[in-house]
Amino acid sequence: MNPRRSFAAGTGLFILLGFAALAYLATQTSSVANFSSGPTYDVVAQFDNVGSLKDRAPVKVAGVRVGSVKSIQLDNQSMEAKVTLAIDTRYNDIPDDSFAKIMTSGLLGDQFVALSPGGSPDVLKNGSRIINTQSAMQLEDLIGKFLVGGSSPAKASSAGAAGGKSGG
């Protein structure tokens, strides 16, 4: 019967649409979207302080997403945070002296790892270690620096040391 067929077809279409909406929300608007589908390689970077950096936070080069944070662990020897970054294999010529920085998107935004490319001819490979890192900017440190910055150079330098670990 015709009318009955069209009911069934319409119902099927509706259910399909509903599930498509769910699938879209779940895969495109949530953190699932941050799982890169392609193959990745792992790079390790150590930070004094990762602030509120979380698993699956984006890794960006020049603002473009190239990978995500795979894991954050405490390194027992150095008592530093050991962050493993999973970088898309498409981006396979990032210089190995690149600078890893934990940044915040906007004032209230989430934290992410920004890589500033260096000038080395060698590139990051699976298992490489990023030497140059800068920890998360702590709001408290920032305010402290701001308030006492000019009058007390000792304090300011200690805040700077806490904030940066460049050159290593």
Binding site: R4, F7, A8, G10, T11, G12, L13, F14, I15, L17, G18, F19, A21, L22, Y24, L25, A26, Q28, T29, S30, S31, V32, A33, N34, K54, R56, A57, P58, G63, R65, S105, G106, L107, L108, G109, D110, F112
Partner: protein, 260 residues
């Protein structure tokens, strides 16, 4: 004189009546659940009802979703810009939609659009002896009329809520990105790094499912027990909207407190 005037002795207060109704409603739910195996023989009827309660509600759900998303973006943009946090617009809109507004507003609209239709339809079927006729044709009206509508509502609600959220997001994107100039990349990346599938989307879908259960139950129950008069059906339809709205909002609070 008073004996002549006396109509009906009140049996207990409103509290007792209310409790009795809740009890009847619970028993009715058990009846419907018990009839599910028999209802599954009427798959065609279930599918027809999904069409009526679900697909026919799509337009109102989509339009409402779009506008709610748009107004949400406007309001939140204004609030966030006070703190310089407009980058979080996508996140805040998405979380509000998935966790609260999607399920709740969809449930309220669903009660008004599909719930009332269910109540009125079943009430009229009772009033015109259609339910009795089914009994006489050895077809159980619970299995053929009540349960398929109930199941259809339970299936359709989460799907509608997701469509609502999706359209809301679209509306928010339209206002936030296209009109107010929030950066497109920021809008999405901030959202994708803060929205969790399980905590936000799946839990919101659970909520929508629970609302589907209570709204459909109330609508079918009110229709099934409506006095078989035009007045009775009219009152039952009103009660469906009132009870369903209150129960949805109360349940929303309870579920938010325990689930999230």
């Amino acid at each position: 004189m008073s004996a002549d005037m006396k109509t009906r002795a009140p049996r207990g207060g409103m509290l007792v009546d209310g409790l009795a109704q809740v009890g009847d409603c619970g028993l009715f739910l058990l009846n419907m659940l018990g009839a599910i195996p028999r209802s599954l023989r009427h798959l065609r009827e279930i599918s027809r009802q999904i069409w009526f309660v679900g697909a026919m509600s799509l337009v109102i759900i989509m339009i409402s979703g779009l506008f709610v998303g748009m107004v949400l973006a406007l309001q939140l943009y204004y609030t966030l810009s006070i703190f310089g946090g407009t980058a979080a617009l996508g996140t805040v809109v998405a979380l509000s939609l998935y966790r609260e507004l999607g399920p709740v507003i969809t449930a309220l609209l669903f009660a008004g659009r599909a719930g009332t239709a269910m109540t009125a339809e079943i009430g009229l079927m009772r009033a015109t002896d259609q339910l009795a006729a089914m009994e006489m044709m050895a077809v159980d009206p619970i299995a053929f009329v009540a349960t398929p509508r109930f199941l259809a509502g339970v299936i359709a609600m989460p799907l509608l809520a997701n469509v609502f959220s999706l359209l809301g997001l679209l509306g928010a994107h339209l206002v936030g990105v296209t009109w107010l100039g929030v950066d497109n990349g920021t809008f999405w990346s901030n959202m994708t790094s803060n929205v969790d599938v399980w905590k936000d989307i799946v839990n919101g879908t659970w909520k929508a499912l629970a609302f589907g259960v209570v709204v459909s139950l109330i609508a079918v129950f009110q229709g099934y027990t409506a006095p078989p008069t035009s007045e009775g059906v009219a009152y039952a339809t009103t009660r469906t909207v009132v009870f369903a709205s209150i129960v949805v909002l109360a349940l929303d609070f309870v579920m938010t407190a325990f689930l999230m």
